[in-house]
């Protein structure tokens, strides 16, 4: 394994994607102290974008 960014990117993209989908399917999933925000969707999106960035960096370095 030469480039850690690739597996790490995959992990965060997968975890983020699961959360995003869950947030879209269950937009009403809220914690006890609700701030009126879809926490799953936003956390998921952040992780997805982060994972995507790592993958992009890794593929850019290869080519």
């Amino acid at each position: 394994m030469n480039d850690l960014r690739r597996p790490t990117g995959i992990l965060f993209a997968v975890l983020g994607l699961i959360l995003v989908l869950y947030g879209l399917i269950h937009p009403g999933a809220r914690a006890e102290l609700d701030s009126g925000v879809n926490v799953n969707l936003w956390t998921g999106l952040t992780m997805l974008v982060f994972g995507g960035c790592l993958l992009w960096l890794s593929f850019r370095a290869k080519s």
């Binding site: 850690l4 790490t8 992990l11 965060f12 869950y22 914690a31 102290l33 701030s35 956390t43």
Partner: protein, 550 residues
């Protein structure tokens, strides 16, 4: 807190991933050095993140959040006064000698610079300390999961230990370091939303300041007198004890972190490692301490959040982090939060295990038990020690059930082991005249002096098992002063004994001591790769934060 399948999914994906990294790295392992030291093969961005992640164990996350609730933003002194300046120091001034000496471990440096007995003393105390640290970390995690999730202490301890064992056994230090990077990102992404949610619910920093006593929202203003600040410390104890002795002792001499910097590909990389790491370290209080402060503010509003009580009365601050998660994270993100907690635990434990196996294999086994065996044998010993380290940690986790405040206990351990050691290193690296006898007796008397101080003073009903000569206003003040006394004793004894004994000839001190070592020149490198300019930027940012939260 009730978990649903989506929460377990993130945990399981993460577990599979860390073991997968171990599996992928295992092919690189051919010699004992591949396994135990990564043989200078790790890119600097990875060593930098591993450098802080190895310290971000579960007890650090839980403890810092607890201290945030207990002491307020003054807790950030551990980062802004303590860790960051020490990290700059080790990168700027100490790595040239660590890396230049080609020592495989901190005790081995002591052997090269001083003598066999100094190495032996340090290796043994260090081995004991790592096993305890990892046991305490495991204990903290097992206890929390039992409380919050209803998982049995034994099964969560055994499961997490088994996973750490799998990936450190397969891929050694490289696998631990690679995973630490992933763990670092997970810790940030898993805990930052909590900080954002809790702080915004409490009305932002403005709202928090309005609801709390001013001592909770200032780092320096109330340090003037021990009775005025919640930590019960006075300026000298805080600045010298924490800011100098304890922090420098930890970040500059603890092999657990130094090992990460030594794994860098080049001398320049090893110096950049702690300095790059200082940047995220400055921001860590906003992720780990801020939620604790917000928690107290939330209690004084009618938000419905309260910190759980202990059995004997008083708040159980160690539960702040997890109860906040339970209140603020919906299922889904809750799984990520728990995964982050698990990741912090694993990074801390793997850090300890990989430092322990190196010190045991090279500094104890190869030095005293079997000297000239083929390398294959040491690789085998390294792997066996990895298993032994995990088993011993589990034993310590059960022992740790006797101590209640994890943070205080850890500080206590560091006060003994690393405080005098920093005096040894200062004199060893920057004064050619210091001798092996001086270092050994200094270190030993420093340790004894620390122990005696604990035995003769009392704080919060702790210590004083010999006599009660002095009462400290808080355990923290006591710890800082133990460190100061231990360091000073080591410094003075090392100096006096060195003057009375013969030093090593200068020809044997090349690459070990200032003055007889060619210092690295990085004048040709761009400014953002040079330790000096980077350190200046860190200091400027540090000053800004101290002023903002004055």
């Amino acid at each position: 807190m009730k978990l649903t399948p989506i929460d377990y999914a993130s945990l399981i994906i993460y577990f599979a991933f860390v073991m997968g990294i171990g599996w992928m790295v295992r092919r690189r392992i051919k010699t004992s050095e591949d396994f135990l030291t990564s043989k200078h093969s790790v890119p600097v961005w990875i060593t930098s993140l591993a450098f802080i992640a190895a310290n971000l164990g579960a007890q650090e996350m839980i403890g810092m959040c607890a201290s945030g609730a207990k002491y307020g933003i003054m807790t950030a002194q551990f980062y802004w006064l303590g860790a960051v300046p020490a990290m700059l120091f080790v990168g700027l001034f100490m790595m040239p000698f660590y890396y230049g000496s080609r020592a495989r471990s901190v005790p081995e440096y002591l052997k090269l610079r001083f003598d066999e007995k100094t190495r032996c003393l340090n290796a043994i105390t260090f081995a004991i300390m790592t096993v305890f640290s990892s046991g305490i970390s495991m204990y903290a995690l097992g206890l929390l999961f039992e409380l919050v999730l209803g998982w049995s202490f034994t099964s969560s301890v055994l499961l997490s230990a088994a996973i750490v064992l799998v990936y450190t056994f397969l891929g050694g230090l490289t696998s631990a370091i690679y995973n630490e990077v992933v763990q670092f990102f997970l810790i940030i992404l898993g805990f930052a939303p909590l900080s954002i949610l809790a702080v915004s619910k409490a009305g932002g920093w403005k709202g928090i300041s309005a609801h709390l006593q001013p001592v909770m929202t200032h780092t320096w203003r109330y340090v003037g007198h021990a009775s005025e600040n919640p930590m019960g410390v006075e300026p000298f104890g805080l600045i010298v004890g924490l800011g100098f002795v304890l922090s420098f002792g930890y970040w500059c001499t603890n092999f657990l972190v130094v090992q990460r910097a030594l794994a860098a590909e080049t001398m320049a990389g090893s110096r950049q490692t702690p300095i790059f790491a200082a940047f995220p370290k400055i921001l860590m209080p906003f992720v780990v301490i801020l939620p604790g402060i917000a928690a107290v503010a939330l209690m004084s509003t009618a938000s419905g959040y309260t910190i759980p009580l202990k059995h004997g009365g008083g708040y159980d601050y160690d539960q702040v982090l997890t109860t906040l998660m339970a209140k603020f994270y919906p299922n889904g993100t809750l799984g990520i939060g728990l995964t982050a907690l698990m990741a912090s635990f694993m990074s801390g434990m793997a850090g300890n295990v990989t430092a322990f196996n190196t010190v045991f294999t090279y500094d104890l086994y190869q030095s005293y038990i079997r000297r000239n065996a083929p390398d294959k044998h040491y690789l085998w010993v390294g792997r066996i020690t990895t298993i032994a380290g995990v088993i011993l940690s589990i034993g310590c986790a059960y022992l740790a059930t006797y101590f209640n405040n994890i943070m205080d206990f850890l500080q206590l351990v560091f006060a003994f082991v690393n405080a005098p050691l920093f005096a040894t290193f200062l004199l060893g690296m920057f004064w050619k005249r210091s001798t092996g006898h001086g270092a050994f007796w200094g270190l030993l008397t420093g340790l004894v002096a620390g122990g005696m101080t604990l035995g003769l003073t009392v704080a919060e009903n702790k210590g004083g098992w010999i006599a009660n000569l002095h009462q400290f206003p808080s355990s923290m003040a006591q710890n800082f002063w133990i460190a100061i006394i231990s360091w000073s004793t080591c410094f003075v004894v090392t100096y006096v004994v060195s003057m009375a004994t013969t030093p090593k000839p200068e020809s044997e001190l090349h690459n070990l001591v200032y003055g007889v070592t060619d210092l690295p020149h990085e004048g040709g490198a761009p400014w953002y790769k040079r330790p000096g300019p980077l350190a200046v930027i860190v200091i400027v940012v540090l000053v800004i934060f101290n002023v903002l939260f004055w």
